[in-house]
């Protein structure tokens, strides 16, 4: 009797706690992935497929651990992320410049603007043959592919971002006698941020895809190369382990958390926009 009353009290307190919802969601998420691994393990134990087709969670984990332990995995993550940041950084600078130029100079928009839209429709991996012929099997070639993969998406969203700045905000700068450079610095760049956030995310995911595709073909260090190594060694556990690692790298290190969440949060706070 007493214990049931205590339980009721505890439950009502727990439910009334403000952060109960958040704790519950985290617990549910952990339970979901634990269940998924358990399901995987059960399917493996049922021996429907041989273990060289579907390995269990344990050998996959062992493989990943081996590659963590011998340092190759970290070297690969480092090599991949380095290409990613160099490539995306270049694409960001070039894409923003093209986008802002297109938005401000009418004749440029009418000529280069159409070409940018056309280039955007190319799947980024189609730049790879060209890159190999131009730069050989080198770091430059793979960074080129990453740049071309995201450049146009960033340029298009930068252009739209500038165009979306309310006319009166630009005219205000003019009224106070701002020069072209001052207008870009104090109005265009901050004003385009709400629109650019989406374009940067899109560009980031394009870069990431072209980078993985490129690394699969290249004989250099990197996560894509590890995947291909697993295929050559016929090591299914390694292949699956690296795929899981790639997902974790994307989720943990990747775009949303580190790069774009702060930007979106800032925009939301300043502009007073509802959560997207």
């Amino acid at each position: 009797m007493l214990s049931s009353e205590t339980a009721q009290l505890w439950l009502s307190t727990a439910f009334s706690l403000k952060n109960f919802g958040r704790v519950f969601r985290i617990v549910r998420l952990i339970a979901f992935y634990a269940g998924l691994i358990l399901l995987w393990h059960l399917v493996y134990k049922a021996e429907i497929w041989p273990s060289y087709v579907l390995p269990g969670p344990r050998p996959v984990f062992d493989q990943v651990w081996r590659y963590i332990d011998n340092g190759i995995l970290f070297d690969s993550v480092y090599a991949t992320m380095q290409r990613m940041f160099i490539g995306f950084g270049l694409a960001f600078v070039i894409g923003m410049s093209i986008g802002i130029a297109n938005a401000t100079i009418r004749w440029l928009d009418e000529t280069l603007g159409g070409l940018v839209h056309g280039m955007q429709s190319l799947p980024s991996i189609t730049w790879l043959p060209l890159a190999i012929l131009w730069f050989g099997l080198s770091q430059t070639a793979i960074i080129f592919v990453v740049v071309m993969g995201s450049l146009f998406a960033i340029a298009i969203s930068a252009r739209d971002g500038v165009r979306n700045i309310p006319v009166l905000q630009r005219r205000t700068a003019q009224v106070f006698g701002a020069s072209k450079l001052q207008t870009i610095r104090y109005v265009t760049l901050p004003g385009m941020l709400p629109s650019i956030a989406g374009g940067l995310k899109l560009g980031w995911s394009f870069s990431w895809r072209s980078l993985m595709a490129g690394e699969l073909i290249f004989v250099t260090a990197g996560l894509g190369h590890l995947l291909d190594l697993g295929r050559q060694l016929n090591n299914i556990s390694l292949v699956m382990g690296i795929m899981i690692m790639i997902m974790i790298v994307i989720i943990g290190l990747g775009a949303d958390l580190l790069l774009f969440w702060p930007l979106e949060n800032w925009v939301r706070h300043r502009w007073g926009l509802a959560a997207a």
Binding site: Q169, V175, F176, G177, V187, P190, W271, G272
Partner: protein, 291 residues
Amino acid sequence: MSTFFSILDAVRPDRPRTRNAENPEATRRSDVLLSVSNITKRFKTSRHDTMALQDISLDINQGEFICVVGPSGCGKSTLLNLIAGLDDPTSGQLVFDGKRVEGSGADRVVVFQEAALYPWLNVRANVEFGLKIKGTPRSERKDIVDRYLELVNLTKFDKAFVHELLGGMKQRVQLARALAVEPRMLLMDEPFAALDAQTRDVLQQELQEIWARTRATIFFITHNVREAALLGDRVFVMTPGPGRIKAEITVGLRRPRDPDTHAVVDFAAEIRSALQNDEYTGRGQEGNFAI
């Protein structure tokens, strides 16, 4: 009333006394700040050829409060843009402070109807914007911004962001931002049109006080005749198609004025009859006026 102004003169001895509410003729003799002569503005596209302004001439004196009343499409905003230097006239010329108007500049600052503040800046930084463009040293900016925030009663809200402000507060920020660069002329493009009636009353009152303190020359566009009678030294009445000045009414009333006194209401009625009495009332424009 005269004591009130003489106190102001004592406070600001460096500025000439250019305005005398009890004797409008005194205003006429003072310096001309802006001279608009024979302005025509034509907007030509492949489909339309619109005469927005035709043969506009007017002089605005130092320290005067000018109101322009007219229905939508009469070219009053076009005229404001020409004065601001945001657009060029098709013919005729504007002379501001002895120089031909060529392009915009911080000596003629515009207060827009809405949406002209920067959402990524807080109130303080918005007010600071014009000073930053002008190149005022950082050390001086803070004091100037403080002074103008106080003038528009927003000292407590200096850290707020634009989306957190009510409509009337946004217009006060715009006003402070414009005044902070100490322009020779303040151009106001229907600044209170989007506000609710109570807020508009308060801001009209505040604008009268601010004008008395700063002695800025104000060019104020409105479609509200009562607002024009309340605020203006002189009121220009414009008609559309093509945009022309139809009448000029001198409002010789003491300040500060109360919107509910008979004198103001009478002037409002006079402005309204000037707007309505002839050819264009038949074109369905009469619905645009509020008293």
